[in-house]
């Protein structure tokens, strides 16, 4: 059993008791209107229900390949993405459904993508790990662990180059921090003062290998000190705390172009992917403990009830609508057509897809 669970409960319960009230009072949260708070809550519920519906679709063999569910981590994506301004950008790894919905992608297109249909957000060419929405400042959806982190540094580089007061949030898991490309990206960001926040969503496990068995040193975000970067840890089960912590670093990034590493403590209830039997590396008790005491949706729901923002009726309505929305998405996906073999070689080259602007000659495909 992972030691992390025990120490996390001890440490974080204490800190959350003291920070809990504080983060709700932070202006970034205190200034939220009632409808805004309800919308944040609704987003988390919608993500949860979408993930549950995709799991059922996967079990019904509608979805192929990998499915990495975000269940339990909703407060991280919703909290971070809710702070985005028009020049802020987001990139993440393959556990990307939460981020995709948090930035506002359409669940019909997301589900259709899982089903491999041409109406999918990537025309069926990407699948679960490759959701993209440039118009929403969302740059995927990437399969190679840590491979997206230099890309995120590049988003920040472009923002700075163009003189825009924006920041890039580059998300990764606790397993990614040991990839060489991540260290290279940290160095570049710190060396050149690039406005990127490296967000480590620490759910305790890389697939089946705990943090203790993967990562040397005192802490994941603390590695930022080696590069002279700001860093922090954050209790990711509390949406208010995610927002309060990230707001501080986003402002430093936008206004002073300062990078940072923020390690957000979170947890996934499901296995690494649906192919993970989830029996060999953690106990049912550990999962239940998180579900009981730290479910981000429950935590935020209780806060909003205490604030007089949520009632049982609203809670019920939000849940019913979320389930209906994900069922509708599945119906849409089911009814949509697949791409055809003629579609296989589209979207490979910009020039082939824009033939009236093509200047090259010769053959680009070799069938």
């Amino acid at each position: 059993m992972s030691k992390k669970a025990d120490s996390t409960i001890d440490k974080k319960d204490a800190s959350s008791a003291s920070v809990c009230g504080a983060s709700a009072q932070a202006p970034i949260n205190a200034n939220l209107s009632k409808p805004e708070k309800i919308e944040l809550y609704r987003k988390m519920v919608r993500i949860r229900r979408f993930e549950e519906r995709s799991l059922r679709a996967y079990q019904a063999k509608k979805i192929g390949g990998f499915l990495h569910l975000y269940i339990g981590q909703e407060a991280v994506a919703v909290g971070c993405c809710s702070l985005m301004g028009k020049d802020d950008h987001v990139i993440t790894a393959y556990r990307d459904h939460g981020h995709a919905m948090a930035v506002g992608m359409d669940t019909k297109a997301l589900m259709a993508e899982l089903y491999g249909k041409i109406t999918g957000c990537s025309k069926g060419k990407g699948g679960s790990m490759h959701y993209f929405a440039p118009s929403l400042n969302y740059w995927g959806g990437h399969g190679i662990v840590g491979g997206q982190i230099p890309l995120g540094t590049g988003l920040a580089y472009a923002l700075k180059y163009k003189g825009l007061k924006g920041a890039a949030m580059a998300f990764m898991g606790d397993g990614a921090v040991n990839q060489g490309a991540v260290h290279e990206a940290y160095n570049l960001a710190a060396l050149w003062n690039l406005p990127v926040i490296f967000v480590v969503e620490n759910n305790g496990y890389s697939m089946g290998t705990s943090q203790e068995r993967s990562s040397a040193g005192p802490g994941l975000a603390q590695r930022a000190e080696a590069y002279g970067m700001n860093w922090a840890t954050c209790f990711g089960h509390d949406l208010y705390e995610v927002r309060a912590t990230m707001d501080k670093f986003l402002k430093l990034a936008r206004e002073e172009s300062k990078p940072a590493v923020v390690e957000i403590d979170t947890y996934r209830y499901r296995g690494h992917s649906v192919a993970d039997p989830d029996k060999t590396y953690r106990t049912r008790d550990e999962i239940e403990e998180y579900r009981r005491t730290k479910d981000p949706i429950q935590v935020f729901q209780q806060k909003l009830i205490d604030e007089g923002v949520l009632t049982d009726a609203i809670i019920e309505q939000i849940d019913t609508e979320a389930k209906a929305e994900s069922d509708l998405a599945a119906d849409f996906a089911e009814a949509s057509p697949y791409p055809t073999p003629d579609d296989i070689q589209k979207d490979v080259y910009w020039e082939i897809d824009n033939p009236d602007q093509r200047t090259s000659k010769g053959r680009l495909f070799f069938d």
Binding site: P134, G140, P150, G152, D347, V348, W350, E351
Partner: protein, 326 residues
């Protein structure tokens, strides 16, 4: 027109494109203060300043991935690899990210990056610094691969690559950097990618080649003409992907004999692909099997005179050509 070295021609292309488009940035190790490991970027820092000409740390995966990410937001990075041999350090960024993000997003994104640098053996720098990975790169749908042999070709093709909206990989040659040639100073003279060039007309044998092997083939062709009465046509591919196969076919239909000359280790080389295509599409035009002269199949040897024998050279081309027309 002016006589420029291959190095100066590349520098001129960079300078013109940096002037034309403020989103073009040159990034790489030693490109700025050191004036370029091979002096290609000499003078550019003084002309364009440190925002446009950027020294990177030794961090290929980091800075190339960074360039790919920046290109998604409209920057047009020209990233120098000090040696194309170092591509393997950034393989994931080059051939998973740059090559694939357009496809995986269903066409929502494009990566207008250029990666350039020398890819060659022949300088006794050993097995890890002498790679010619154009075959590996060209195997990936989504990318473009260019290998110029002359100063004029280098300039016109690099300008096209920089303006191209797909990821373009531009493979130079340290030994060619000093070669001189007539080069246009017209800043709007571009050579399209995917257009081969017949560098020498002939009737008895088609040599299909590219890069420094073009020069070896032309030298051998002179000897073949004068001493062996064999008339050789030398087709310089210039671009590997996209590939101007029509020019190759037209030549094969004229001469009916083919020798591929490539500075490539033989297994799954560029020539392997060409040979398949030629025999598939022009089988009845061939009077004999397709021959190939490649690098001798071993890691690059250090010992200077022996390395010359491992690579294509005019004598080896001569011998292979005579065998091909025998």
């Amino acid at each position: 027109m002016a006589v420029l070295t291959y190095r100066e021609a590349i520098r001129a292309a960079l300078s013109e494109e940096l002037t034309r488009d403020e989103n073009v940035v040159l990034l790489g190790e030693e490109v700025a203060n050191f004036h370029g490991a091979y002096k290609v970027s000499e003078g550019l820092l003084e002309k364009f300043g440190p925002k446009r000409i950027v020294d990177t740390p030794i961090s290929e995966a980091g800075f190339i991935g960074m360039g790919v990410g920046a290109s998604m937001l409209g920057i047009r990075p020209v990233m120098e690899l000090m040696f194309w041999s170092f591509y393997s350090v950034a393989f994931d960024q080059i051939l998973n990210n740059a090559a694939n993000v357009r496809y995986m997003s269903g066409g929502l994104i494009n990566c207008p990056i250029v990666i350039r640098g020398p890819a060659n053996g022949g300088t006794n720098v050993g097995a890890t610094h002498s790679h010619t990975p154009e075959n590996v790169l060209a195997n990936h749908p989504g990318v473009k691969v260019i290998v110029p042999s002359t100063a004029a070709d280098a300039k016109g093709l690099l300008k096209s690559a920089i303006r191209d909206n797909d990821p373009c990989f531009f493979l130079e040659n340290t030994i060619l950097y000093g070669e001189k040639g007539e080069v246009s100073d017209d800043p709007e003279l571009l050579i399209p990618l995917g257009l081969a060039d017949v560098k020498r007309q002939g009737t008895d044998l088609t040599i299909v080649t590219y890069g420094r092997s073009v020069l070896h083939s032309l030298a051998a062709a002179d000897i073949l003409e004068k001493e062996h009465d064999v008339s050789v046509e030398v087709v310089d591919l210039r671009t590997i992907r996209p590939l101007d196969f029509d020019t190759v076919l037209a030549s094969v239909k004229k001469t009916h004999r083919v020798l591929i000359v490539e500075e490539q280790k033989p297994f799954a080389s560029v020539g392997s692909q060409l040979a398949y295509m030629i025999q598939r599409e022009a089988f009845d035009e061939l009077d004999g099997p397709i021959h190939r002269l490649a690098t001798i199949d071993a890691p690059a040897i250090y010992s200077p005179p022996v390395e010359t024998e491992q690579l294509p050279n005019p004598q080896r081309v001569l011998k292979a050509a005579l065998a091909a027309v025998a």
